[in-house]
């Protein structure tokens, strides 16, 4: 195929990316450095004002927590899925993939029903006698962490599943024949070989969690803002565009930098590949 034809076929892609992706982001960055005057003040505010510095730290900590929880919950599921056959495999696979393609809003709404004062979790806890009166679950950072873990779990399971599935059963059998305990097999064979999947899933979950908007906005407490909710507040209520742009700038630069550093571990095709 001629170079001209290749370029022609690629041009709509490059055009829409330039127009709807690169330009708007560049414009935001530009504003963050130039308004009200050519300045770094907007960025200085993000870092030096203790309120905003705390929002940044809270966002990073929440993302770390969600990533850790997702590994703990996701790895065993991915392992089970990679060794399952037939109906079990189909059942587990459906449970993992279905949420991935169902609306984030639906899942967030479901958690807000569960976390309500008279919701299922509170009534369950009271029926079991664990608490005597309903706990305040909704509008807490805990609610945000649980719901975000729920939303992001498939992004952890699928890459780990991809790397575990590539490990032949013979390796595990060989380890067993050589007298390795289950834990030793896990530590010496499964874990090292699945590390690329764990790294890819963790990075994907961590980076996505940093910019999460819907779930913290609906389930979080107004006193414990996360960065995306702060951005929305600055734009919708305070109308401070330059500062909001700086916040977005910090977030985007941080995420892009991490993604570039670890670009070798990120395997997006695994997400789709695992579905086939």
């Amino acid at each position: 195929m001629s170079g001209l034809a290749t370029l022609l076929l690629l041009s709509p892609f490059f055009a829409i990316i330039a127009f709807v992706f690169i330009y708007p982001l560049a414009q935001l960055l530009y504003i963050s450095f130039t308004e009200p005057a050519p300045t770094l003040d907007n960025y200085a505010r993000v870092v030096t004002n203790p309120v905003y510095a705390r929002v940044l730290m809270r966002t990073i900590w929440t993302a770390v927590l969600v990533t850790g929880l997702a590994v703990l919950l996701g790895f065993p599921v991915a392992y089970f899925m990679s060794r399952a056959r037939g109906t079990t495999a189909a059942l587990v696979g459906t449970c993992v993939i279905l949420p991935l393609w169902s609306s984030v809003l639906v899942r967030t709404a479901a958690w807000s029903f569960l976390f309500q004062r008279e919701g299922l979790i509170n009534s369950g806890l009271m029926a079991l006698g664990i608490t005597s009166e309903p706990l305040r679950l909704l509008y807490t950072q805990g609610a945000v962490v649980v719901a975000m873990t729920h939303v992001l779990l498939p992004f952890m399971i699928l890459p780990i599943f991809g790397s575990l599935r590539a490990i032949p059963n013979d390796y595990l059998r060989a380890a067993a024949v050589l007298g390795a305990s289950r834990f030793a097999t896990f530590r010496e064979v499964l874990l090292p070989l699945s590390l690329p999947g764990i790294a890819s899933g963790s990075l994907l979950v961590f980076l996505t969690a940093l910019g999460f908007f819907i779930t913290p906005a609906l389930l979080g407490s107004p006193q414990e803002l996360m960065i995306a909710t702060l951005v929305s507040q600055q734009i919708r209520e305070v109308l401070d565009w330059p500062f909001a742009s700086a916040l977005v700038g910090v977030l985007t630069l941080f995420v892009t930098l991490l993604a570039l550093i670890f670009s070798k571990t990120l395997r997006f095709d695994r997400l789709m590949g695992a579905q086939s």
Partner: protein, 263 residues
């Protein structure tokens, strides 16, 4: 050979099914709640009614939001699959020096936080009058759907032998005709399933739509967001149930397409 069942396997199984319950229960729970008769959300629901579904379909606001989202999702599916398939074909068949750039730009919309894109587009579209318009939503959603279309199409295109097209062209077909008559039919199931993914990505997209929605034109997710934020009524479980049914249907069709392609 089946390994013997022991305590460790049982514990692993129990743990895995507990996690699967954690994944599935929040999705399943909204279904019975949507049929409850009381005006506030309760579980287990008392009685059985379809009034929340009726309220949804009777409400002009919800109908308009659904119609807007459906239009946008349909156009997004078309534009993302055309742009995505063309680009994928060029990348797979052409020896392009742009490969690295293409990959970085493709992954960009997945990596960059949606809130950043949403805010950037809000500002930009406001200045050129695209905010809250169908073309504005379609452009934004196409960006988000493109990576998924490309991944799905590329996996099929990689398996089609380039010699088939060479043969067609040596028999006098133009490259376009060779693509249209030989390659496209072979990759069509994946192109369609990519388009279906693009449809559902757009139909459900909440963050960009949150900022791009005007006062009059609000997508379904934007209306849902407001309803959840302000007054949580059983109409939300009813809509959630409809959306879950829609995702299951679309996923099922997409997988059927792709498994048929493999057979």
């Amino acid at each position: 050979m089946k390994p013997p069942v022991d305590k460790a396997s049982l514990a692993l199984g129990a743990y895995v099914y507990a996690v699967l319950a954690f994944i599935i229960i929040p999705l399943v729970i909204v279904i019975p709640m949507s049929f409850g008769t009381s005006d506030y959300l309760e579980f287990p629901p008392r009685g059985f009614t379809l009034k929340w579904y009726q309220e949804f379909f009777d409400s002009r606001q919800w109908r308009n939001a659904t119609w807007l989202s459906a239009q946008v999702a349909f156009l997004t599916a078309i534009s993302a699959s055309i742009i995505g398939t063309a680009a994928t074909y060029a990348m797979v068949r052409g020896r392009s020096s742009l490969a690295t750039l293409f990959q970085i730009l493709l992954i960009g919309p997945i990596i960059v936080p949606h809130i950043a894109l949403a805010v950037g587009l809000y500002l930009f579209f406001q200045s050129i009058g695209l905010s809250g318009t169908v073309p504005g939503f379609v452009l934004a959603h196409t960006i988000l759907a493109l990576p998924f279309v490309v991944f799905t199409t590329a996996s099929a295109l990689g398996k089609v032998d380039a010699n088939l097209e060479a043969a067609a062209m040596s028999c006098g077909a133009s490259r376009f005709n060779a693509f249209r008559l030989i390659t496209l039919p072979l990759i069509l199931p994946n192109v369609i399933s990519g388009a279906l993914f693009a449809f559902i990505i757009s139909f459900d997209e909440p963050v960009v739509s949150f900022f791009l929605s005007g006062v009059r034109y609000k997508t379904l997710p934007r209306r849902m967001f407001e309803d959840i934020e302000q007054n949580l009524t059983p109409i939300i479980p009813a809509i959630a149930t409809l959306l879950i049914v829609l995702s299951i249907a679309i996923l099922a069709i997409a997988f059927l397409m792709r498994s048929r392609a493999k057979a």
